[in-house]
Symmetry: C2
Subunit: 301 residues, 2 copies
């Protein structure tokens, strides 16, 4: 069992290779090749924090991956990173634990951002020049970086409750201005009330929604979802929670017609310029499997 600390993990990251691996993971997930564990979750109260365990195996692979991530948002106050965790890479032939990648949750952050960039590339209009980022946390910065890179974005507008934090990522603007000017929007907040409202909807709007990943959260108003072609990372998971689920619960969409991201990757769709398209990404374990496999392949080479 090899233990790999963060600096060595970061040195083994090749974003293009990982992007290709994650795309392959989504394709294989949507073609039914993934076996996933029930997601494990623990909540802590004093100080508040949580822990998630996810694991999966892509049938035919020699290895499988289980990861544990923790988030303790008050760690800032004591000078510790808010995220932590590791990914375990194990043999699907013998059960041996091959590696512990002690990534402090950074592989999760990166796989989430790269999935956003993958979805952005597939749903963006050809003339996309302006990216609108909603939120100012770790994912806001990472999505801005990787979507801008994937699409050759020139202008990044950012809305966040704290304009100073927004300005650290791009041009801080009011939310309504962002919604009016951005060719593509990425939402990255833990909001419990919709931020992208029905009044903001306009033809050709494209949204990558990554913040709304647990029950009770909401970033996109159900009325906007009802007007959109909807791409989901996981049909079953997005019907259970996330912006898609909220629109289903509101009775505004019925869950038919959802396009799974792996299907879109396998067979890209030329969306009409005036269509509203939302990619609702709640996060699936195949992303964790593919990024850990890609890093481990470099390290074990």
């Amino acid at each position: 069992m090899r233990v790999v600390e963060l600096p060595e993990i970061l040195a083994a990251i090749d974003a293009d290779e990982i992007t290709a691996a994650i795309e392959e993971g989504f394709r294989r997930y949507s073609s039914g090749q993934a076996e996933a564990m029930a997601v494990g979750h623990l909540s802590f109260d004093d100080p508040p924090g949580d822990c998630h365990a996810k694991g999966a195996w892509l049938r035919g692979d020699d290895v499988f991956v289980c990861k544990l991530t923790t988030g303790f948002y008050r760690n800032d106050l004591v000078g510790l990173p808010t995220s932590n965790g590791f990914s375990a890479v194990a043999s699907a032939k013998t059960g041996e634990i091959l590696a512990i990648l002690h990534d402090l949750g950074q592989l999760t952050d990166l796989r989430t951002a790269l999935a956003g960039a993958i979805a952005a590339r597939l749903i963006a209009r050809a003339d996309t020049r302006v990216l609108g980022v909603v939120g100012s946390g770790t994912q806001a910065a990472l999505q801005a970086k990787w979507i801008a890179k994937a699409l050759g974005i020139e202008t990044v507008l950012v809305w966040a409750r704290d304009p100073a934090k927004a300005a650290a990522i791009g041009e801080a603007v009011p939310l309504a201005e962002l919604a009016a000017r951005a060719d593509l929007i990425v939402t990255t907040t833990p909001s419990r009330e919709a931020l992208i409202t029905a009044e903001m909807a306009r033809p050709g709007m494209r949204i990558v929604a990554v913040g709304c990943d647990t029950p009770g959260k909401s970033e996109i108003a159900p009325e906007v979802m009802a007007q959109a072609r909807i791409v989901v990372d996981s049909r079953s998971q997005c019907i259970d929670h996330g912006d898609t689920a909220n629109a289903v619960a509101a009775g505004l969409i019925d869950g038919n017609g959802l396009i799974e991201l792996g299907e879109l990757i396998a067979a890209p769709i030329a969306f009409a310029a005036e269509e509203i398209v939302v990619a609702d990404l709640t996060g699936v374990a195949v992303q964790d499997v593919q990024i850990a496999k890609a890093v481990w392949a470099k390290l074990a080479a």
Copy 2:
């Protein structure tokens, strides 16, 4: 993050301390102090194998534990241990991963055996001299060792399909003879059909059942369960699967009257000599938490 390999883990094991810790874990579980993750599971087909992820936090504790165990039964053929895995000990205050105990599944084996010994001590008749072990695998040997130690057992009878394997643990006997002679029986097999049948039931029979831990398995006939006082490690889990669940499914018991092991530890019951008592142990994450915490406390001291 400290990584601890098996020899150092084994050197840190104090069975008496771990037994006390596991008893405390059962008590706290039964008094509602445990938060447990959904159990994660993956199955592999070629070669056959499986993986389980369990995690829990006892409210108020400074640490929580998640473990991953694998079982690949054909590893024997290639000279590898059939079990593998690790326990991660993490801070419930900051989410930091404090330790990876790379125990190859041996802490799971030991906590299962010590739970058997705890249950045996609480349900055995005072005059118990003869232990009957059903099965010849890792748990058969470990339960024989730890129950014999806990109860001062003089004679160990063993039944297994392969008498040579049985003889490695104790006196190999036919199953009917074992059932007739043993004061206390421990069942440790992955059988899918009941081994302890209605014909074998007799007044004062005491059984610790640890083998039947997943849906589809069965060691004790529902008719025997129906005559017994039943102790369970987890009321909710034992109603879902295991010998208790099989008897509920057969309509012979209704699930009321089950005694949870943590309740029995907190308030021991003087069972009448002629009562049949079965302790149905399906395995709960608090055992993993408590053994990992006890080992880590020694190592971090």
